[in-house]
């Protein structure tokens, strides 16, 4: 959640409103207004987004700027261009994970969770190789499961199904019922925003049917190295897109 201030440096309309709110004009106009519309926020916080343009009142209300507002308001729903970048990175990450974990890519999947409506949910469209419909409605609370724990702690987390059930995973039963019965393991990789100094999403890489040998022993160096490789190898690739979505900007593009 954020507040966005887009102001015009030469906005005389808000200046006039301020003037009309002062005595003796306020006696006539009954206005109680100021010129905050052209002022910067008095506090500097990651969730207070300040932007300005050199121009007048009408320029901040130019229809050409509406798209950016709609992108900002929709977040964490991602516009098509940002979503396409994210899913492309997910496809690549799935292939890379297959190599690192020694697993076939067909059995590996990926998705992006972000806070929505008070819980972590899969960002619509931000999945790769996921075909089990009930999972798209998963709702995970903070500190619940690997995803919720990764979001809260900022650390990569992993959960492996060694027995017949997901006991110990801390997800409530009605959420566990939505999980693909073939799911065997999940690696949850938190995405941190440097600008906001916070975890803004969790990319999950998970696998069906089989537990890769490298994930068998949680105390082994290979196990730790594999998770660290996946986490550090993806950090820089998702953060810019989530940050662009958060600010309502277009995604970074390749430039000649």
């Amino acid at each position: 959640m954020a507040v966005r201030n887009e102001r015009a440096t030469s906005d005389w309309v808000v200046g006039a409103a301020r003037l009309a709110s002062r005595r003796p004009l306020s006696w006539l106009t009954r206005l109680q207004a100021g010129d905050s519309g052209r002022r910067v926020f008095t506090q500097k916080l990651p969730a207070l987004l300040d932007d300005y343009l050199i121009g007048h009142h009408s320029e901040t209300h130019n229809p050409l700027r509406f798209e950016r507002w709609s992108r900002f308001i929709a977040y964490p729903l991602l516009p098509d261009d940002v979503l396409q970048k994210v899913t492309t990175e997910m496809q690549a990450l799935r292939q890379e994970a297959a190599i690192i974990l020694g697993e076939t890519a067909v059995r590996i999947r990926a998705n992006l969770f972000a806070p929505m409506d008070g819980a972590l949910r899969i960002v619509p469209g931000a999945t790769d190789n996921m075909k089990y419909a009930p999972e798209f409605d998963l709702k995970i609370e903070e500190n619940h499961g690997a995803t919720g724990t990764a979001f809260t702690t900022g650390s990569p987390c992993i959960v492996v199904k060694r027995g017949n059930s997901w006991t110990g995973n801390t997800l409530p039963g009605d959420e566990l019922e939505k999980i693909n019965p073939a799911l065997k393991w999940v690696i949850s990789l938190p995405v941190k925003s440097e600008a906001r100094s916070a975890v803004v999403g969790v990319v999950n890489v998970d696998g069906l049917d089989n537990l890769p040998a490298i994930l068998q022993d949680q105390n082994s160096q290979e196990y730790k190295a594999a998770i660290l490789a996946l986490h550090l190898g993806m950090l820089r690739r998702f953060e810019p897109y989530l940050e662009a979505g958060f600010r309502g900007d277009r995604p970074p593009q390749i430039e000649a």
Partner: protein, 70 residues
């Protein structure tokens, strides 16, 4: 630099160990690229042949923003 796995689910009694426990990879202390786990992680990344992954790995090591506890 310390890289350790920390089970989140209670494991007081091995006999009642849950089927699926959450494990956290906890990283603390100053970043050390020569740490054995770090070196092996970079080898694994290099093995993918992905330039984007290698660049992300080196960027993250330089920033140190993956360390959760100093």
């Amino acid at each position: 630099m310390n890289i350790q796995t920390v089970p989140i689910s209670p494991q007081a009694d091995e006999a009642i160990r849950p089927d699926a426990e959450v494990v956290r990879l906890k990283i603390s202390g100053p970043v050390d690229p020569n740490n054995a786990v770090m070196r092996r992680a970079r080898e694994l990344v290099l093995g993918t042949g992905s330039r984007a992954m290698i660049e992300s790995f080196d960027w993250a090591v330089q920033r140190g923003n993956f360390v959760t506890e100093e």
